[in-house]
Symmetry: C2
Subunit: 489 residues, 2 copies
């Protein structure tokens, strides 16, 4: 065996252990007995300890020094392994343990503070998390901006400068679009009524299959928060049902199917290698958002879905155009995960700016509440009514996810680019979507994006697929055309 | 930290990883997507490899040499760890790998051979498994009989000589009892009709709760083969439903609850230590069989269950005495897992003798089919009709479980002893069971057996609980009294 083969054999086992840890996470959110949480914590710590010891095993350094890649796949594998090894070995064990302990405590404090609407109860531990993340960022920065070092964990190669420029270009245009739509005389209707949850689940499964989700290599369960987990032949999704809001179940399902189809669509040869998972959070989100919005909320597809809803639940009280409007209507609100397609990105950019300020030391975490509320008022035009609807709404910061939020909007930008390329290549797309047939679109994405896994750098992957450097233009064009038509301008 | 503390900290993590591997097994049998089997195999191999490396870590030898136990718990922990370490280090890695590979192949061949009723297709790989198990037994025998070395994996301290003597005493008495019952003029009725599977599951859950199963620390799912898995705060069971045979679901559930209640009942201080699991297969089976048979199939409890069945499904067509007879009726059959309380042990003893002969080299695995059929005819009085009903019915040998079968009957013997002791201590037991209240019995078992986990050697544990050395007498007395009353002799 060559040095490269030795390294990859070791890596395969580490990747397999990582899959197991992911499966435990799925178990915890779906089927774990309520009383098992503490015991599970010790089990997770044990397997994470094993994985961390393997990721920092000094043999990796020796293998990396000696390995000579013979092709593009080997080169990409070595690039990923070197990056992960450097990342893992730069952070002292003491700091890693302190981060694990503090974020575990912080998550509990956050949940309690959110339930009690009490930012002051969360602020001290948030301060400690931020301090530790700053320390971690210094360890891995290598001369980069500390925030960029954290961002790199989720979106390799991205920088806050380029994202910031992109977001600054987007923000005023999105606000203008939102204001024009909400100020229009023509307002789309709402979907009214109550919808049997089990029927919602049956329709969600049909939609999942229709979007190419392979249930022989996955499964759908209910969970409090929808998510997708796993790789290769075992990629599971969850969704949730609310009797008064069937779109929550249906579009959460389509969104998670986008994530899952990406993982299921990766070249099986890459399984248990660094190429065998989605390459970045931004690219992942581009798939889920494109499935959910550009396809799932398109006029053509909702026309078909309107028929399915009517068959499943009886008359919805809406015609196909009204249904399209109801699926896409803009609305006021405080919560990112409930936001519409236009305003979602405003929620993200607010977080991006605030977390950059915290990591740079420009914003004291104790003042986050105040800064959040001021910024929200400025971007949305009305005040936050309580902390649970403001800076306590998301779990991310409590568990140390700094640099993660911007990948949501980057995913939307990538989705915009991909959809433009896809429509160029598939002129008959809407005819298929109107029959509920998403296979031309999902097939294009599998061929041009999903199958490559981690082979190309994220931005390069999108540029190859689109045959153009990605920017925010296509997303803005798409949103303007779509919402202009719905709101009559 | 003392040497003992270092050892136990290392052991805790190993035990936690073992729990994770067990959870993957549960996942595989209940919720895993069909297409994920191959991928799961690699994941299991990875975690088993980590666990094996830890179980043979040379530091354990050093710690064991240096550790000075300060109390009975520490002494017992060191005894278990030393036993496991000796066992794991005596088997060369080459042999362990060869066994894993061959049994994996053999399990597939066995399933195909059973489906095709083709013993010849299974015989060659069975021969290889037996040869490897003989080699393994030599490695770990330490001067003992090789079969005893294998038996010790499942029932520490047991020997084939003492089990053989016990079984030879049981066999003719069980055959005589069976023949007398089946030849009697008085034959109990059968339960007729069809029983809604979902209603069966609801009743099974009520029974599980009634037998003290804590659903906050467990869950019930359906699976092809009922089983129990896990420890401490996460002990899960499965059952199955057949519309024409509700007893299958209900008594499988009670049986698995016996296993699960044992694990849930262990002193929580022992979690993630060698004392934190049931001490042997025989003691485990004593709990499951006692819950299922001595309690669950008693006249007092079935009287209550008859009322519950009638409430759940409507008139069963049987009065309480007829129902008791139907639950307990003896019947001809080929399959161990479907056997009645009397003949079950005949199935086990047949396997015990044949597997001893194979390991001792007295029986060529190629001749197993013939030897099985001859012995079956002799013990049961009618010929095996096909291999799937004969030596291909159980998975055990294909996966290398030699020395496991006798623990089933040892468990019945222990259950007989425990039930006699329990009735002595609880004179009002039947009055509680007639109300469906099993708590005096399960409370006694928790206090006298379950909470101790691995603290005492298996036989010592039963002797302490019963205040007498265990033997087959109480089981025989119980069976004679019970079936004499049902069959009128």
């Amino acid at each position: 065996m060559s040095t490269y083969d030795d390294l990859m054999a070791f890596q395969r086992e580490t990747e397999a252990l990582g899959q197991i840890a992911g499966r435990l996470g799925w178990d915890q959110e779906t089927v774990m007995p309520r009383g098992a949480a503490e015991q599970r914590g010790e089990e997770m710590a044990a397997i994470e300890g094993v994985i961390h010891a393997r990721r920092t095993d000094p043999r990796i350094g020796d293998w990396l020094d000696a390995a000579a890649p013979e092709d593009a796949v080997a080169t990409a594998n070595l690039r990923h392994i070197a990056r992960s090894y450097r990342r893992a070995t730069r952070v002292p064990a003491r700091l890693a343990a302190e981060l694990a302990r503090t974020t575990s405590i912080a998550q509990g404090k956050w949940a309690a503070a959110r339930a009690a609407d009490d930012f002051a109860a969360f602020a001290p531990v948030l301060g400690r998390v931020v301090a530790l993340k700053c320390e971690e960022a210094e360890c891995i920065a290598d001369g980069r901006d500390p925030y960029d070092a954290l961002l790199d964990d989720y979106e390799p190669g991205a920088t806050s400068a380029t994202l910031g420029a992109m977001f600054d270009a987007l923000r005023p245009r999105l606000i203008a679009l939102r204001d024009r739509a909400l100020g229009s005389d023509r307002q789309p209707p709402r979907l009214e009524g109550s919808f049997d949850p089990d029927t919602q689940m049956r329709l969600a499964e049909r939609l999942a299959l229709g979007f190419g989700y392979d249930l022989d290599r996955g499964r759908i369960d209910r969970a409090v928060h929808p998510f997708s987990s796993g790789s290769g032949a075992d990629v599971r999704i969850t969704t949730r049902t609310e009797a008064l809001d069937p779109f929550n179940c249906l579009y959460s399902t389509i969104h998670e199917v986008g994530h899952a189809a990406y993982e299921q669509g990766i070249d099986p040869d890459y399984l248990f290698t660094p190429l065998g998972a989605g390459v970045s959070m931004g690219v992942h989100e581009s798939q889920s958002r494109l499935y959910e919005n550009q396809i799932g909320r398109s006029r053509a597809f909702t026309g078909w879905l309107h028929g399915e809803m009517t068959r499943a639940f009886g008359d919805t009280g809406l015609d196909a155009d009204g249904f399209y409007g109801a699926v896409n209507r803009l609305h006021r609100g405080f919560i990112r995960t409930e936001a519409d397609e236009v305003q979602y990105n405003l929620h993200v950019m607010l977080r991006f700016d605030l977390e950059r300020d915290m990591i740079a030391g420009r914003l004291d975490p104790a003042d986050l509440d105040e800064a959040w509320n001021a910024r929200f008022q400025s971007d949305f035009g009305y005040p936050v009514d309580r902390p649970a609807h403001g800076c306590l709404q998301d779990v991310h910061w409590s568990v140390g996810l700094f640099g993660y939020f911007p990948t949501y909007t980057l995913g939307n930008v990538y989705a915009g680019c991909l959809m433009a390329a896809l429509r160029r290549d598939l002129p008959d797309l809407d005819r298929a979507l109107a029959r509920g047939d998403t296979s031309p679109a999902t097939g294009w994405l599998r061929e041009n994006v999903q199958r490559h896994g981690g082979l190309y750098a994220p931005r390069d992957l999108i540029a190859r697929a689109c045959k153009a450097e990605p920017d925010e233009g296509p997303l803005l064009d798409y949103l303007k055309a779509k919402f202009g038509a719905i709101y009559g301008f």
